[in-house]
Symmetry: C2
Subunit: 412 residues, 2 copies
């Protein structure tokens, strides 16, 4: 027993101590409630997927599949992958019950996904991701709703429309430009890669590189495609004025077929894509002959957290436990448990110390746990039926009868 | 594009369509709220763990580690395992912040875990599991609280104390008996295996097999160990009368050190362990020199579901979406969205059809989705400001003004 195991988690993933879990739960709950307000219902699947799901033509993101998936052979010789994203899974599930589902179908999910990336700010090997999709609608209003949902989510976290900008791109337009330039598949891939890096490249360098493809800023930044213009108008009708056309929105996934978008944080310390998505009209055809249009987007938990952090929107951790009962003596456990049972029955989340340490140590334990209130059970308190409730942050105490305790906590 | 991909999930795991996800969410929420009532706070970790965590002496369950883990080598040549259970992880995390945490520490988690088992009723390759643990207490009251929490969870799902029995075993007593019988490690393992299978073996066969170890029912079923008797008394003080000593409670994990327990469903169609746990006092010493006692238990989602099913406790699925707005004509989308925005702002989860299909088809879609209420937006409704809200289950309609709509839904 001399060699001790390390307490660190596996490289690039996180432990969620209660403070971290509370923040993750807040992020998930805010995603969920906003999506449900718009009529989306939750689904999920296993993180284990047959590897072929990510190799199919039309699904693949070459970088992710070749370099970033967690793929292995199971004990039954099946090749299995930890999902790197949710879109192929949702297409599989929708195709599997295609005729039983009603359209337009609004589904959301909050899966954890896995990518073997170099760990860095906002990029982790396991991350939680909000996904929302509409299946079965060709209406541009479906695209507008998906963008609106993205917009409303930022607002639900306390952001304002000055904090972000919605950049709309077009896969159709990119394909048209590539054809006009006479690019082959290999050249087109490099061309799109250049556009994707645009924000990170010096403008002069970018111009030079464009010219190597026979392109120019003028070719790219001409009139927006008609449906992008219409979408911007629809978004204005919905009160959303921070959307604009940006031909450098490329998105990494091969499955997008039309309008794509990314939401950029405008804060100078966090100038990056917060979320992204678009229309993918052929994905369920990997499973099923009949076409079924789709449009959706995703957000990661780490970028959402960074957005909150740079704007001071992170709240102080408060545990679910409201009250810690400390004991003058271990013989008082039954009396403390009786009091706790009464409070719990009335909805007050209550922890009871077992009196194995001195009172001062018990109070220190409650402070370490961040429990907001504490009371001490001793012979005097039990005899008088009056308890002093201590606010652990301010240190002030308020005396009250046993009968008033629950009311005090429920009115906080 | 001719060869189609299958729509089935990976073998032995589940897709969570909205109905399944709603049930899982109900199970998770019931676990969470019961644990929080007793002062437990939530933590979690990644499903990816260094494989060495499960190979350490004192952690290992040989069957699980050798035959049932998902273990593979990552792209950086690290051996990694999808967690088959949560206890080694929580011990790692507690050891990692040992001095910052306050004791007794009450933690719970609702992780998904992975075991490569033959899929069967209640056994899946990915399952969700509730885990609750108390660290830092040697008090038998801690054991009592853990059993009480297990008891309260069954009640929170609508069970009664006639529906289950709590069987208490003792690792100390099993070790004492094995020593008394003069069994070596190999024989002891077989002896414990026999006890573990007791409920599944013919009583006559069981007696014969016991005699081969020099044991008898009398040796096993003597007076319960003193601390088990005391625990049964403490549970009675807490109003729990369905706990009893059972020397055949063995538990598969090597880390238990004292009292262990399993909760058995008493329903003839589901006569199996619902949950189990016990005291493990040396686990954090894998990471840290200082000892830290622990006691805890776990429940799986599939067994919880089976418990609910055999007792008719499963509820009908009702989606989070309250209202579906159908349109007479696609040109009415903006008017419908304005109505939806008003309702959403007042807390009514509302989906809007984009009017691409005939009205009848839109109503069928709402029915397939299980949305409980529907209203139709047409020129007449917009002109009069009066809408007929249809109860999709009964088919009845109620007419009301635009102003009354939100009130109607919030009072449901």
């Amino acid at each position: 027993m001399s060699k001790k195991l390390p307490t660190e988690p596996y490289k690039g993933v996180r432990d969620f101590y209660p403070e971290d879990q509370a923040l993750l739960n807040y992020i998930l709950a805010t995603w969920r409630s906003t999506a449900e307000r718009f009529g989306y219902v939750e689904y999920n699947a296993s993180i284990l997927e047959p590897s072929e799901l990510y190799k199919a033509k039309g699904v693949e993101n070459e970088e992710i599949v070749n370099e970033q998936t967690y793929t292995f052979i199971d004990r039954g010789q099946r090749e299995v992958t930890l999902r790197p994203e949710m879109t192929p899974t949702v297409a599989r599930m929708v195709a599997g019950k295609r005729r039983e589902l009603g359209y337009p179908l609004r589904w959301y999910s909050v899966p954890n996904c896995f990518r073997y990336e170099r760990p860095q700010r906002g990029r982790l090997r396991e991350f939680w991701q909000f996904n929302a999709d509409i299946f079965g609608s060709n209406s541009l209003w479906a695209d507008a709703e998906i963008v609106q949902l993205a917009y409303e989510i930022v607002l639900a976290f306390g952001g304002t429309d000055k904090d972000f900008v919605i950049k709309l791109g077009s896969r159709v337009e990119l394909n048209r430009i590539a054809t006009q330039l006479g690019l082959n598949e290999e050249q087109k891939k490099k061309f799109l890669g250049l556009l994707d890096r645009r924000a990170k490249v010096d403008p002069q360098e970018f111009s030079t590189a464009l010219r190597e493809f026979g392109a120019s800023e003028g070719l790219l930044y001409g009139t927006p495609p008609q449906n992008v213009q219409q979408l911007i108008e629809k978004l204005r009708e919905l009160g959303i004025t921070n959307a604009q056309y940006d031909p450098s929105i490329v998105r990494g996934f091969a499955y997008y077929t039309d309008i794509m978008f990314e939401v950029f944080d405008t804060h100078p310390d966090n100038n990056r894509a917060l979320m992204g998505g678009g229309r993918y009209d052929n994905l369920t055809q990997l499973f099923d002959e009949e076409p079924l249009p789709g449009v959706g987007f995703a957000i990661g938990d780490a970028t959402m957290r960074d957005f909150m952090e740079v704007r001071g929107l992170l709240k102080k951790y408060v545990p679910a436990t409201k009250l810690y009962i400390a004991l003058v003596d271990a013989s008082l456990v039954p009396a403390a448990l009786e009091l706790a049972a009464q409070l719990r029955a009335q909805g007050v989340n209550t922890a009871v110390d077992f009196g194995e340490r001195k009172l001062g140590e018990q109070i220190k334990a409650a402070a370490k746990q961040g429990t907001p209130y504490l009371l001490v059970v001793g012979q005097d308190e039990l005899a008088s039926g009056t308890f002093a409730v201590r606010n652990m942050e301010s240190g002030t105490e308020e005396k009250m009868s046993r009968q008033k305790l629950a009311e005090f906590f429920l009115n906080l």
